[in-house]
């Protein structure tokens, strides 16, 4: 048994499960003699916990398909992480639990499972492992995966949305095309883009009655989850507040001058993945900025890019692109903030 534990292939998985279930036996050495109870596991599990309203609503709306999507996301995501833990002789980082939970939630529920698997493997590999693992990645791995399949399979990602509650009476059906009254429809964002009147009320959008990516539709749950994370200090309040605030102000002003191009602020916020992005993806501590002022600038940048892409580009949704873009700007913003805060030191003059 002990020999098996030390096996190079088994070791990371064994340690991950062992620590996960039993906790640490290590004691402090050097530095502070006592440590507080918060650890990375708790931090990551709380993010997953905060996503639970969205997950439960996905299962309610899309039945077993939602379950399989989450299952395969975890299966392939954790396997990729495990392989890299073996290669690099490092431990499995708990951040993978969040990545694999967010990833299926930002996908359309009709997506074929093989495509989902390709995306998560790509996302974890190119979004995280090539940079050296969690803590060193520049981009949010879940979004890198989604970006990859958006570009590789544009047809699936733009037109294959179905109305929620499609699985009522067909809970175990995973092929929505086989359900007679399944309506493939455009998301509310497409209506806004085309300049058509919105058919959903704000309340319907909040409660998840409109089609969209699997986890983004139940917006009330996302808001509650996001507030939970901010109140518990798991995530920073600066980014979501400045992000959503900027979208409100910018689209509010823009809507007055260009009502045809820029849609009303209420719909900007309650459509698409904005709330999911603002509360759960933009706040990813690794890929966002760490200086306090930098966080605010980061949020403002996200808001500006989101409104610009939604209003003036060929894409209907701008949240994913703006987060990936601002991820790339993050180090630059931090470095600028550090230069402003810390001035070069002045050497003492030699005493005569």
């Amino acid at each position: 048994m002990n020999k098996l534990k030390e096996n190079r292939i088994v070791k990371p998985a064994w340690e991950a499960i062992d620590f996960f279930l039993k906790g640490s036996a290590e004691v402090t050495a050097g530095g502070a003699h006592i440590r507080e109870g918060m650890d990375i596991k708790r931090m990551m599990i709380l993010v997953v916990f905060a996503l639970m309203p969205a997950v439960v609503m996905s299962l309610y709306n899309y039945g077993m398909k939602a379950f399989w999507m989450i299952f395969f996301s975890y299966l392939f995501g954790i396997t990729t992480e495990w392989i890299f833990a073996i290669v690099k002789r490092e431990e499995i980082h708990e951040g993978i639990f969040v990545t694999c939970m967010i990833y299926p939630l930002v996908l359309p529920p009709t997506i074929p499972l093989w495509m989902l698997a390709v995306g998560i493997v790509f996302g974890v590999f190119f979004g995280k492992e090539v940079f050296g693992g969690t803590g060193r990645n520049i981009f949010n791995p879940a979004l890198v995966g989604r970006l990859f399949i958006t570009i590789a399979f544009p047809f699936y990602m733009s037109s294959s949305y179905v109305n929620p509650l499609v699985s009522r009476g067909h809970f175990f059906t995973t092929d929505f095309a086989a359900i007679p009254d399944a309506i493939t429809s455009a998301t509310p964002l497409t209506f806004l883009k085309a300049g058509e009147p919105m058919v959903y009320s704000a309340w319907q959008l909040l409660m998840g009655a409109a089609p969209g990516s699997m986890g983004e539709t139940f917006r009330l749950g996302l808001i509650l989850g996001g507030i939970f994370l901010m109140v518990t200090k798991v995530s920073s309040w600066r980014i979501p507040v400045s992000y959503i605030g900027t979208v409100l102000v910018l689209s509010g002003a823009g809507h007055i001058f260009m009502p045809e191009t820029i849609s009303a602020p209420v719909y900007q916020i309650l459509t698409g993945g904005l709330l999911l992005g603002a509360f759960f993806m933009a706040t990813d501590p690794v890929s966002s900025t760490y200086t306090q002022a930098g966080k605010v600038i980061y949020g403002i940048g996200l808001g500006v890019f989101t409104v610009l892409i939604r209003s003036f580009s060929g894409y209907t949704e701008g949240v994913m692109f703006s987060i990936i873009l601002m991820n790339a700007f993050g180090p630059l913003i931090d470095s600028y903030m550090l230069d402003r805060k810390y001035k070069p030191l002045e050497l003492k003059k030699e005493a005569a």
Binding site: G23, A25, H33, R35, M38, D39, E91, V286, K348
Partner: protein, 418 residues
Amino acid sequence: MKVNHKTFTGGYKFNNFEGQPSGDVVLYKPVKDMIGSVIEPGRGITAADVLDALNLTGFSGPDTALTETVGKIAPYDVRDIVISTVETEPYSLPMKSMVNQATKGQFISGLRNIQESYPRAKMTLVIGEDQIDLVQLLSAEVKRLSRVSLVTIASKYPANRKELTVPVVLGKKYPVGYGPAHLGMLWLGIKDVFQVAKSVTEKKVVDSTVLALSGPGWKKNLVLDVPVGTKVKDIAKSYMAEGEIRLVKNSILSGGLLTDEDTVTFDTDVIIAVPEDRRRQVLFFLRGGKNADSFTNTFLSKLLPKSEKTAGTNLQGERRACVSCTYCQSVCPVGLIPHLLHKHADKNIINKRLAEYNIFDCIECGLCDYVCPSKIEVVSNIKLAKEELEKAEISHKEYVIPECDIVAQTSREVAAGE
């Protein structure tokens, strides 16, 4: 009497850790073969002599590692005397046991003695905002003394450090690494005031010091009056509980380990005993944690303010790579970005840039270590980086400290001239 209140950003409020000592000071039975410095009262002994003997009026070089006293500040040059009674550590010397109705008179006479010795000094008594009893007890008496003011400060760790108290209370920058005498001031603890009173007013030999036995590792949490030079081993023999226990001097966040050979000195305020906690807690990350202390609001203990927090040396998680959660950044009392410094030190990028990131402002309070969810030894890394920088002759000695005038030079000349 109007009491000024001061607060500061960063820091962290610890409360209600298990094993807090209380009650009156108990005399510890002396053991034979004591060694240690003894202050004999003589004719005309002054507070300055006592504080001198306690090594509180000297200034060393601008290097903290240099413990040897280079010079003494002349009493006439002392402009400020700051006396801190702030309890912000998880375990600190309980002020209720030290200053109460019975010992108030002794404390005030100590203050008076110090005042007489330092004719130009303004005295500031710093009290934590939580210690309302102490403010009520002392304000009327302090009012009668001239040149003494009472200031309350936010009860957040590390408000008990001179590097933090001086800028917050006196509004002048404290050059980290220099002694208080360099600023023309004295930094005193409450015990020093009592030592002065004991020697000058009561004409008794100062050969013992008060210390608290804190933490869950003692059979009983007492406040003891212990002869200086007593072996820690002997105290442990009489009072320590069974099991594998770690003994720490003065601060559980930044204090050093005590071994059997160590003896009690005048600067021993607290001996903390915490059990070496190697128990694994099954599914710890899912537990409510009604006795767990945390900077975040993810434990039930935040909703139960009266709950007693457990203290053990368990790491409470596994070591992971830094995710830049910024917890360390928001608790840092001196406004550094500890995780940035740690990352530089970890990758061995130790150069002038670190000095520009104000690494020498670090007071090694240990808060970043305490709050880190990735369980990284941040402070140890920063210490290493500082040592490397010193070796490369990039040190705070070489740089101008803005908004700070170091006056010790003149006093040193005075001292040398005498």
